[in-house]
Symmetry: C2
Subunit: 334 residues, 2 copies
DNA sequence: GCAGGATATGACAGCGCTGTCAATTGGCGT
DNA sequence: ACGCCAATTGACAGCGCTGTCATATCCTGC
């Protein structure tokens, strides 16, 4: 038979409730008592029964990571980070892929919540900014943390300074002498689309380069959108000498299309991406991009959520650092 | 207050135990009784409390997916498939990344099991074939299903006929007239290494082509291993006209290295991969490869596990179909 | 129509833990 | 040394469900 809390209590010579207090790290337990209990727990290799805890405490010790993101690299990183945080505090994590644009999206999350009763959610873009969902979560009083949400006020989670990062990567192109720099936009539902565009415009403007709408092409973060955008850009009479794609997948698409048009990267055209996903090292030429600390973002977001859940403070919106990764897809303008 | 089983029982005019029977799909409930209960459940939107169920039934209704696989695409697919299966039977899934070669690997799984008490595990390569782990699982009597394990006898899960698939993709190259076909090996810990090599040798042998050890190069499924292997192959005096890389990432590396050597794919050299991961469509040229139904493999493996867990039959080892995807990285020998 | 076995339903306790609240102990000022 | 308040500990019930076993009901063959 497994070791129960009662067994630990008997061994330590205290009541079960006191063991429970130690287990849950509650205040008002005298030092020596705590030591005794801790020692007994360790000696007996005691593991609390999660279901019993949940049932009695009316909490699940469960965090759900909810996503609708086609990039498995990004997702896996976030997920691993959230897991890191959960492990640190003996929470469990479940994952839930969803389609944010499906009619029953909110209802599916509702079902998830009624069914599994997570204590909180970790949301990833673009689900971070789904108005009906957020309304429903507030209504049901379900705490959540967001990774890179559009609106940061009043919510908790983690983010990087995206406009600044975009300025930096465009600045890298400017520093190489490029003046006709195109931009392939991100998916409209993602905050990143706006931020990266803003950074692009600010960098150009700071360099005194007028904004040319013809050089900004729609996209949706997919490889094929990068291909389509590049076909359009490379057909322009006055071709850009550099392309800032709003993420790595699209940048890979741009490079692919460059080959199709007989253009060599970076000799004829420089290309930069954003995110530093593995693909940026798995294409030729390797991609200059912005490294985003996705795993850490997942971890920090989850930690803030857990802090709020455990009543240790409020939980904050934390800014994390990014880093420009210069690789082989960029060169001085020819 | 939430609806409890007792409330449903009262509404349906039966005892709580009968509602429990209906809920758990047990035998020995008369048709009309079942209908009444089902109707009451639906009317009241009843959701069983997972923790209460777990505590009373001494089962967690939880499946853990355990992996040590650098390919997030593959992983996300498997994970989604396992989730599909869990949803079908109202189980939960947790995920656990691990390092199979770390010293405390088995102990970590031990901890996972003591801590979260999953009813069963889904293992993915290469964890499917870790002798100490399997021994420990048998010892602790923890059921598991495996995706593409090396040893299929006596275990449950899902697989494809890998040697046959490898024969087919090599056959495709032979059909294009290639005779000097190289092979880049997979990671030694994965069954796929052996199977794909076997298929390669069988295909050559069937075509009456002698086996040339110089054309078989070590690898580990990573992009950079593909690059390294290709550098070696392309430096050979008698260069191969085609390369069968044991997975897509390595094939992408081979294509990358081809560019480095001034070789055009597929004009100078044809390249094929295996797995049909997204990268096979995100490189230029797009990759001829074998499509493996990863999501379905995850789902089927989990379904077999659940069948065993729920006492509905034994759980089998199920073979799933693959499909050759011919794309642009292969052409008739020049 | 009835015995007898099979099938269906219910009563009850208890899974392992925590919330509530009462009882006890300790610390401190005088 | 004593009273008093706060800090600490414990007793007890119950979270929502299912296992066990007893009881009730159904059906069959004669």
């Amino acid at each position: 038979m497994r070791v129960r809390l009662e067994d630990v209590a008997r061994a330590a010579g205290v009541s079960p409730k006191t063991v429970s207090r130690v287990l849950n790290d509650e205040a008002n337990v005298r030092g020596p008592t705590r030591e005794k209990v801790l020692a007994a727990m360790a000696a007996m290799d005691y593991r609390p029964h999660p279901s019993a805890r949940s049932l009695a405490a009316n909490r699940s010790f469960l965090v759900a990571t909810v996503y609708d993101n086609p990039s498995s690299n990004y997702l896996t990183e976030i997920q691993t980070g959230v897991l890191d945080a959960c492990d640190e505090h003996h929470y469990s994590m479940m994952v839930r892929p969803l389609h944010a644009d499906s009619a029953d999206f909110v209802q599916r999350i509702d079902t998830l919540i009624s069914h599994h009763r997570p204590d909180g959610l970790v949301l990833t873009p673009p689900i971070t900014d789904h108005p009906q969902l957020l309304a429903r979560l507030h209504e049901r009083n379900v705490p959540y943390a967001s990774v890179s949400p559009m609106r940061r006020d009043g919510s908790i989670g983690a983010f990087i300074d995206e406009p600044k990062a975009a300025r930096e990567v465009v600045g890298h192109l400017l520093g190489l002498g490029h003046r006709r720099i195109a931009h392939v936009l991100g998916h409209p539902a993602h905050g990143a689309r706006g931020w990266r565009l803003t950074g692009y415009r600010e960098a150009l403007s700071a360099a005194g380069i007028p904004f040319d709408p013809a050089l900004v092409v729609d996209g949706d973060f997919s490889f094929s959108a990068g291909v389509a955008a590049a076909r359009q850009l490379f057909s322009l009479a006055d071709r850009p000498t550099a392309v800032f794609a709003a993420n790595d997948d699209m940048a890979a698409g741009v490079i692919w299309a460059a080959g199709e048009h007989g253009l060599s990267v970076p000799r004829d055209v420089s290309v930069v991406g954003f995110d530093d996903t593995p693909i940026s090292r798995q294409i030729w030429p390797t991609l200059t991009t912005i490294r985003q600390p996705s795993r850490e973002m997942g971890r920090i977001a989850a930690l803030q959520l857990l802090a709020a859940l455990r009543g240790k403070g409020e939980g904050r919106m934390v800014q994390l650092p990014y880093a420009l990764q210069v690789r082989e897809s960029t060169a001085p303008v020819g």
